[in-house]
Symmetry: C2
Amino acid sequence: MLSKKTQYAFRALVYLAENYGKGPVLISNISTRKKIPLKFLENILNELKKADLLESKKGKGGGYSLKFSPRQINLATVIRVVNGPIALLPCVSLNFYEKCDDCDEDICGLRKMMTITRDATLKILEKKTLEDILLVGV
Amino acid sequence: MLSKKTQYAFRALVYLAENYGKGPVLISNISTRKKIPLKFLENILNELKKADLLESKKGKGGGYSLKFSPRQINLATVIRVVNGPIALLPCVSLNFYEKCDDCDEDICGLRKMMTITRDATLKILEKKTLEDILLVGV
DNA sequence: TAACAACCTACTAAAATAGTAGGGATATTG
DNA sequence: CAATATCCCTACTATTTTAGTAGGTTGTTA
């Protein structure tokens, strides 16, 4: 399951997607409109910025905005930044790989299944973008 | 990600699958062979039994065995019993559904994407069984 | 230089995960 | 029926993760 933090991140990103091209949006604005705890949201947006998904501007007229168009930001990227691995096992993760200590044949059978699962999941999450989320509402 | 508990569960189940039809297997045997903490494993197997995946026998000659053939036990079932929901959002889960408190249009766009993702994941996890895990080793 | 707004470090509370402890219930065998 | 084997049950503890808070710092603009 996605953490609450990740759900907040998506809500904020979708809001920023709606405002794409209209200049920076204030954290406090997002917080109020999307009912996300202000300081928590600060952390989240900052993480997203460090991951190069957002850009920010300080001082009056400042705020956050998407660094790329909603179409260019896919869901897998967001999840990886805020939530972590998408695969169900560390030894199957592409971006957060960790060796499993005693990977015997059984576990490796499981590994195979989890690899197939991961590929099916990624095929969708990497194709769908913030834009796709927006279009549902229309 | 699957919890450690779930990974233990799979290891134990695969071992029991290997011994399917050969009579009950001791917890202590599984614990030693699969390097799973004994008392923790006790809890896990008991849960799997309550979920009707295993059957048990007490006293001498007792132990645990699969209640159905390895082919009949699919991975989605196991994950749901030990790990919980498979969907990425509570409001998208078939077996652990929970309403999201302020489900506005944005979130519902996300919901749509997560539903598609869930379906793709389930299509695999419900088709693959303990037998499929075993066959990889061969 | 005042105000604004993001940035940074560090802390805390609550919940989930990963176990452990120890006895109780039931079945088998001699 | 007694001894032993084996699962069963309740409850506890330690660690890690999640969720959020507090308060000051740095950079921007007017």
